[in-house]
Symmetry: C2
Subunit: 472 residues, 2 copies
């Protein structure tokens, strides 16, 4: 294992890419824009899936599977939708050795193919609400790979609900983004801001997009997942009407929401350091690594007994590789971001006192063997909390309330971060700010209070502070 | 819900397709050869995944994710491999609005893209054995859809291991097919024969293919899953050498093994009847359906209390739809194949004796409320066993040992089934038998004993009875 990780300060992106490769989360694939998710990275995705799938099912949504291929004319049915996704399509033109009469898009998202079936399956208010979720691969063509953050193919879940009323559909949209926020906060220990996208940043074909934006140590924001109020745009495009309780034909109100492997990129950036990954215990594939000091038989015996004792409760591994030094092993598991390391030598074996190393704080803690179980539980929980608090504090320390465009520019030229600033909601101002600072509106935070002010760009009246940042 | 299911005797395929559509396991997609797996069908797949994924992980394999797209020149590296898969490829020629300089195949299987990465990642015996598994979608172009059995896109897991010795690799191949057999037997209650494929039926690019063949009530065999000894064919094609313990450069021995959504087709056919699906409890999305007789408040109250009492241990649902008759509901859940139905009326509510209906046998059984829990457990287990025993008996009753080609033809013209017959292993005889009877060699059963005989077609000496059948 090559140890010399690039330094964060040399270049955040270089550090990020190097970290992912060296910790073996993922690798570049030999196909433009594509990556391979290696077992260590995929184990993180499995933990995310387990957590989120449970919440989605509790809501009443059921999993299903729709085709990878979408006939081009489906995409064209909703005009904004096709405009938004066309530039990024991968297109199948040959099947079974023959030129296809209609080209097939590899799904860039599944609204069109799913709603084609909805319209066939659901005819009555009795079938409502409709809640279907799908875990699958998605393709949106990219020329350059940014591991986990921007790849031609990625994995996600996409939920697609349909309701009798707009209000019910809006409730679902909010439920989805709040569920995602919970997943980021509680599982990934990542803090962020929930809000509504401006029109220029919303989903192609939707009415409103809700987002969870999290600030990365680079000072840039990650649009971490989204939830869309689709109004009746798609049901009208498909001419999908159903009979309501009063026997009227009505167009259903729809919404969709997605959470992807991009989240792993956010997870990595939010917590990790120059020694490698730092993973929150709740999502870490390995929570505890036990390292008996090589060449000490008593230590190994004691280490094995501890392993047997805790492995069923905690995700634990023991490192028994025989030709690596203790120091080499410490570095190796530090790179992998394992939250707790138990170092076990002759001394620990005879004193029955253990040395525990916390990956998040670098602390070494002596714990009694008799209290092992309760201490591990407590410390894992502390680490989880600490990482979230730390990321929340970082975000708050880098969130600036700004009323002056020069100051805005100066921040975007130096430390970067989140800026709360008045904007008149004119797309021209938004576009100019983007051109001049590369910062965009990330969202109007859900908890934003109305406050009279002046657009930071043009001085026109504004009623809200929007969240601005440069973004991934 | 439309109830009138087609009859098995009218036509087995018609019954099968109709059953899948009406029980809402799946639907035809508006793309040639493709299907949609609806929530009820997908829940079965999730149960299969949970069961099989655990066994795969216990073996030490780890899940990962490799790209959907495979550059055409990778497929061409192994000559037999490309020959086998070329006719079925879906090909992407346009990405991001531009004609691609190299066309990309949508993966028909992932050997080539995975081994490209293996060759890059693994250089030493210390990394061995390599065991990686992937759950994903696969595309092999089909003109006509045969729901679950033959579709342009399907879901599967593909395991890809690499070993230092051929023996170790062979052990893995056998482990895989035995694990699949266990999954069929214990989870899906489907009996079958494990054996080795003839050269004409083996995996393109492999040395030997092991198969699990199960006999369907149509008299045809389903190749239900396979496991391949790839020898060193791929490591040589990729020029992938590693350093062994003696510092010699050696080519790894590889194998791959896959289990797909096709299994759901086998599950459906093996057990179901003219009233609908019959699902084994271990894999059924719903194990117990509680139906209070509509319009009887006492019954409903009692039913609800039973539901609350058992739902955490058994996958249970309660049918409280208010404008369907009891009879309609019975049919509805019979169609869905739920193993146990609890019918609860006024009588049951006051007597505290319940009427239990077994979907597999059609029996009605009176059980005491006080014994509810233990009875449900016992009966679910009985149903699971009964279905397996029944399918095993069906298979044995339709397995014929034949030494005369006329008899062989006569069986294939009438009842069909498995035939054990001597074959000289000359591909010409195999091809002629296929042409004349549409039966093919399914496998040489693993437990087949050497027995001197004469080829049923040409009379040449033969040392084994092969398993023949018409197949899906």
């Amino acid at each position: 294992m090559k140890q010399h990780l690039k330094d964060q300060d040399v270049g955040f992106s270089e550090w990020y890419n190097d970290l992912i490769l060296k910790s073996q989360l993922a690798d570049y694939a030999p196909i433009k824009g594509c990556m391979v998710i290696r077992p260590y990275g995929y184990a993180i995705w499995e933990n995310i899936q387990n957590y989120l799938d449970k919440l989605i099912k509790e809501r009443g949504a059921k999993n299903a599977y729709f085709p990878l291929f979408i006939p081009m004319h489906y995409l064209q049915k909703e005009k904004e939708h096709v405009k938004g996704f066309s530039p990024q399509l991968a297109v199948v033109t040959i099947g079974g050795g023959e030129e296809l009469s209609e080209k097939l898009a590899v799904r860039p998202t599944s609204e069109t193919i799913m709603y084609e079936m909805y319209q066939k399956w659901y005819e009555s208010w009795r079938d409502f609400p409709v809640r279907i979720n799908q875990w699958c691969n998605i393709v949106r063509w990219e020329k350059r790979t940014y591991l986990f953050l921007r790849t031609s193919e990625f994995l996600w879940q996409e939920g697609h609900s349909a309701h009798l009323t707009h209000q019910e559909s809006l409730d679902e949209v909010i439920w989805a983004i709040k569920t995602y926020e919970k997943t980021y906060n509680d599982l990934l220990a990542v803090y962020g801001i929930v809000g509504v996208k401006s029109d220029s940043e919303k989903f192609a074909g939707g009415n409103k997009t809700y987002t969870f934006e999290s600030l990365m140590p680079s000072g840039k924001s990650l649009q971490s997942c989204t939830s869309h109020d689709l109004g009746q745009n798609f049901s009208k495009a498909w001419n999908w009407t159903i009979q309501d309780q009063n026997r009227n034909k009505v167009y259903p109100w729809q919404n969709s929401w997605g959470f992807s492997t991009r989240s792993i990129g956010g997870l990595i950036m939010a917590h990790s350091d120059n020694n490698g990954l730092v993973l929150p215990p709740n999502v870490s594939p390995i929570q505890i690594i036990i390292i008996p000091i090589p060449g000490q038989p008593e230590a190994e015996k004691f280490a094995r007994s501890i392993y047997d004792q805790i492995k069923s409760e905690f995700r634990t591994e023991i490192d028994l590789v025989d030709d690596e030094s203790a120091g080499f092993k410490f570095n190796k598991w530090e790179l992998k971001g394992v939250p707790i390391r138990l170092e076990i030598g002759q001394k620990e074996a005879s004193s029955r006192e253990l040395t525990l190393y916390r990956r998040d704080s670098g602390q070494k803690i002596a714990i009694k063997y008799t209290e092992l179980h309760s201490q591990l539980k407590k410390i894992l929980s502390d680490i989880q909390k600490n990482l979230f608090v730390r990321h929340k504090k970082y975000t708050q320390d880098h969130t600036f309330t700004v009323d002056n465009y020069d100051e805005f520019k100066q921040i975007m030229n130096s430390s970067k971060g989140f800026i709360l600033a008045h904007w008149c909601e004119n797309p021209e101002c938004e576009a100019n700010i983007k051109k001049e600072t590369t910062a965009t509106t990330r969202c109007l935070p859900l908890d934003s209070k109305e406050a009279i002010g002046k657009c930071i760009y043009c001085g026109a009246p504004s009623r809200h502070r929007w969240l601005f940042a440069q973004s991934y």
